[in-house]
Subunit: 143 residues, 2 copies
DNA sequence: TCGGTGACCAGTAATCGTTCCTATTCGCGA
DNA sequence: TCGCGAATAGGAACGATTACTGGTCACCGA
């Protein structure tokens, strides 16, 4: 199901000309470990646990390379840093306005959205993302 | 068609308890004048032409009030400041990765998207936006 | 084996959009 | 007219991200 396996990752690095360094591997591992949708800062803290010498800038640069070659996805909500995700398939994520947590909305088919867009604009569409905000059950209960 | 007329605006201010000051009027006028989807900075420069004493912070605060009471809409793209829009109906905007210009994509019906979302998540959905990026014809031609 | 070359990295400074703070002003009701 | 809360100007502060700089590392060809 589009899961980006190790072989695929190596192949994408090879084709892109970038090198799969230990720092970039560590960033990928951190993304795999963290259940949710971590920010660059979150990733940095995780990577730092194993290798305290990594620099925040390196994490940013690694994330940008990984996104460029299609191994990870990035999403932007207002009033919140960019969140990263190993899932690159088109899917929906919702962010809680209360606690800031991001989680996936399953079962909504967006399949033809990009195609419909392409038919409706003279632009060359490269990316379409649906950004959803709301209140998670816990925060709703808390009032 | 949801056009936010002057009467409607006054009514929303009255109900909200905010006051419709001259600065806030000026921000609305600037949004009306500028054809595209201006950033806070763009609005600030326009407002400043008529009243050089306005502060950037005032524009930000006015924009946030206007958004809160539903008179204007805000959209966020990556690598770009927030863009504001008098059109608060659900609609699609696309941003050119080359020149940064934002324009509307007409004729794509999103009608039931929020409803479908509401059926698929335990969250209380407050807002859903579709963010599209691509290349405008001019930038595509320029290569 | 050696030297050169280019990508990468740590550390830190700088930038950019946005928010916050404070003293002052404004506008409305009493 | 006075008093009070909301709004404002001006500028400082902040958080996320990028840019810069000097040093390191892996690889390749002689």
């Amino acid at each position: 199901m589009g899961g980006t396996q190790e072989r695929d990752i190596r192949e994408r690095f090879r084709r892109s000309g970038y090198t799969l360094t230990s720092q970039r591997k560590a960033v990928l591992e951190a993304l795999g470990e963290s259940r949710g949708h971590p920010s660059a800062e979150d990733v940095y803290l995780l990577v730092k646990k194993k290798n305290p010498r990594v620099a925040l800038g390196t994490v940013y640069q690694a994330l940008s390379v990984l996104e460029e070659i299609g191994v990870i996805g990035a999403k932007h909500w207002s009033e919140s840093p960019t969140r990263y995700d190993l899932n690159v398939d088109p899917h929906l994520d919702i962010r809680c306005l209360g606690c800031g947590e991001v989680s996936e909305i399953p079962g909504v088919d967006l399949g033809d959205l990009e195609d419909r867009l392409r038919g409706a604009t003279p632009y060359e569409v490269t990316r379409a993302a649906v950004v959803v905000e709301g209140l998670c059950p816990a925060c709703r209960a808390a009032g």
